[in-house]
């Protein structure tokens, strides 16, 4: 999990770099700061289990098994990308890792995840589906229709609310009434709220919820308290008007999921500093190579733009 968190961090730092160098089209929403959630949960999942992701989805895709070189290629609109360059940053999808797709409509994938869980139950495949979404999706009505249906039909789906505190540029307290998990609990759903910066806590809690779901005991709602270090998207640089710099600094220095887990690994003698540094160095080499490969790889022929509209 440590390795995967570092991989996501390094990937996202390079996305930031590509975007600011104007090499990347579209938009880029970085997952930096939230890595423990995707890593803690996807560590538990089978390769054929389903996930749905969000506009801030690179971390989910990588944690579910996506290859960084093909991810970079997709972000750059290259032919070799996961979606032949037609999805881009916000729509990476990959059937080979059960990734039903990142979704740029906030809350828009709640139905897809629930539907995949419905299919898993109907077809008796033993798969589960994990629906990742940000706390901004709490404002979407569709989510509550899906919570109701998932609980009503006891579907193997886990709703993972990554609460990073901000709906774009607005603090969630200004958009969200009442108690968040209580909303899901009102449907009779199993719920939990955890520290999203602690990858072991994410892993342990999600393990129980996923096992429950796989055993036919129904869905769950997991709220993970977290923080995005960067802006809503890469271009969101001057953020002082909606969140204080001191707050950002506190999370980065005191609540960083990679630092915290690294310290735990060393304290419990699972790894020493040299080993952690070696992991970092190895991944830096891998990520740089993946990025350079993607930059050098060709764009699709323009004539292919109208392909894949229909199956």
């Amino acid at each position: 999990m440590y390795r995967q968190m570092v991989a996501i961090r390094l990937f996202e730092e390079r996305v930031n770099d590509l975007y600011t160098r104007a090499l990347m089209p579209g938009l880029a929403h970085l997952y930096i700061g939230e890595e423990a959630i995707a890593c803690g949960i996807c560590e538990i999942l089978r390769k054929d289990d389903f996930i749905t992701s969000t506009h801030r989805g690179h971390g989910h895709c990588l944690a579910k098994g996506a290859s960084p070189d093909l991810m970079f290629a997709e972000l750059l609109g290259k032919e070799a990308g996961y979606c032949k360059g037609k999805g881009g940053s916000m729509h990476i999808a990959d059937p080979s890792t059960g990734n039903l797709g990142a979704n740029a409509i906030v809350g828009g994938s709640a139905g897809i995840a629930t539907g995949a869980a419905y299919a898993a139950k109907y077809l008796k495949t033993g798969q589960v589906a994990v629906c990742f979404f940000g706390e901004g999706a709490l404002g979407q009505g569709l989510l509550y229709e899906e919570l109701n249906l998932a609980q009503l039909w006891k579907l193997p789906v886990i709703f993972v609310c990554e609460n990073n505190g901000y709906n774009e540029y607005t603090h969630f307290s200004e958009s969200t009434a009442g108690d968040v998990p209580a909303r899901a609990a009102a449907f009779g759903m199993e719920t939990a709220t955890i520290d999203g910066q602690n990858v072991r806590e994410v892993f342990e809690t999600a393990s129980k919820l996923i096992e429950r779901a796989r055993n036919g005991e129904g869905p769950a709602f997991l709220q993970c308290i977290t923080y995005r270090y960067h802006g809503h998207h890469v271009g969101d640089i001057a953020r002082a008007y909606y969140r204080p710099k001191a707050e950002e600094q506190t999370w980065v220095t005191e609540r960083d999921p990679i630092t915290l887990h690294g310290e735990w690994l060393m304290k419990n003698k699972v790894a020493d500093r040299a080993q952690l540094d070696a992991i970092q160095a190895e991944l830096v080499t891998q990520m740089d190579a993946a990025m350079e490969w993607a930059i050098a790889s060709p764009y699709p022929d323009p004539s292919r733009v109208t392909e894949d509209v229909y199956a």
Binding site: G87, G115, Q127, E145, D308
Partner: protein, 318 residues
């Protein structure tokens, strides 16, 4: 070309439009266990229009699934289930509720194949109704088939006869794309016609010439096909030979058959029950204009407003 395939069919019965659709769904569910149908009051109630009565007895409540009144919610489930290996039919009841499911249909179902570079498929059917003739007021009367027809990634089917309804519905269930079928509410019971018991499929995107003629082409959709055929009969009495062309699908659109017909007759009326502005009648009129190599081509279009006038005029004269 009328009712192609009937000649060779072994057992042909007279069925209503609604019963033809029910037979299509039942046959597809027997053929493929991945086909399920979900919607509001579809099981014991057999839908609010009583079109599916009895299906739940054969297939059970696991495959004919009553849902909460959450059109967007169960449409989304349909999208995800389709991606995960099933072939769901999503029953939306009134076509007016299309507005509620637009994100799931337009941003999700229609886009997923393209956005994934062709890797994911969304084989599902949305059932909706259309037609203004029950006087159910503004929120239960619209014919919104133009809306999904605007969206790449969707196939849109507008059957007019029981024979077409069965064959096109079965094609939609077997198609690997999200298909949207608009069933005319009044046609469910009023329109009857010969339907083979056999398993047959009508390819999507093939228009049908419902009546051949040489003086005037009427391109008509859904219930307007019946109206056009009745009009053609009246015209026959005064010596005008009318050809009635039914596109059957809004997309894929068989523009070739439309153009060929208008080239032959040089005159064209388009009849459709949707709104006139930016609508189906305008689009069909646009294609018929491609027949302009025959310089005397004349076109006019009858949309919701004009159609009502036409109908009331007809009533007063007959």
């Amino acid at each position: 070309m009328l009712n192609t395939g009937l000649d060779t069919a072994t057992s042909v019965r007279e069925l209503t439009f609604g019963d033809a659709i029910k037979e299509a769904i039942a046959q597809e569910m027997r053929r493929d266990s991945r086909v399920v149908l979900m919607g509001e009051d579809v099981a014991e109630a057999g839908t609010t229009f009583k079109v599916l009565t009895g299906l739940v007895d054969e297939f059970g409540k696991d495959r004919i699934i009553d849902t909460p009144i959450s059109e967007a919610g169960f449409s989304g489930i349909g999208v995800g289930a389709a991606m995960a290996g099933m072939r769901p039919i999503i029953d939306i009841m009134f076509g007016d509720f299309l507005t509620i499911i637009m994100d799931q249909m337009v941003n999700q179902a229609a886009k997923i194949h393209y956005m994934s570079g062709g890797k994911w498929k969304v084989p599902m059917v949305f059932r909706l109704t259309m037609g203004a003739t029950r006087r159910s007021a503004a929120q239960h009367s619209q014919s919104l088939h133009a809306w999904p027809s605007h969206i790449p990634g969707l196939k849109v089917i507008v059957p007019s006869t029981p024979y077409d309804a069965k064959g096109l519905f079965k094609a939609a269930v077997r198609d690997d794309n999200p298909c949207v079928i608009f069933e005319h509410k009044i046609s469910y019971r009023k329109v009857k016609g010969p339907v083979p018991e056999d398993d047959y499929v009508i390819p999507l995107g093939v228009a049908d010439v419902k009546r051949e003629g040489k003086d005037l082409t009427i391109i008509a959709t859904s219930s307007m096909v019946q109206t056009a055929l009745a009009g053609a009969k009246l015209c026959e009495e005064i010596g005008i030979d009318v050809e009635v062309v039914d596109p059957r699908c809004m997309w894929p659109l068989d523009e070739k058959t439309l153009i060929e017909s208008v080239k032959k007759t040089s005159r064209c009326i388009v009849m459709d029950e949707g709104y006139g502005r930016y609508g189906v009648s305008a689009e069909l009129g646009r294609w018929s204009a491609r027949a302009r190599s025959t310089t005397s081509t004349r076109r006019s279009r009858a949309s919701a407003r004009c159609t009502c006038r036409f109908r009331s005029a007809r009533r007063s004269k007959i």
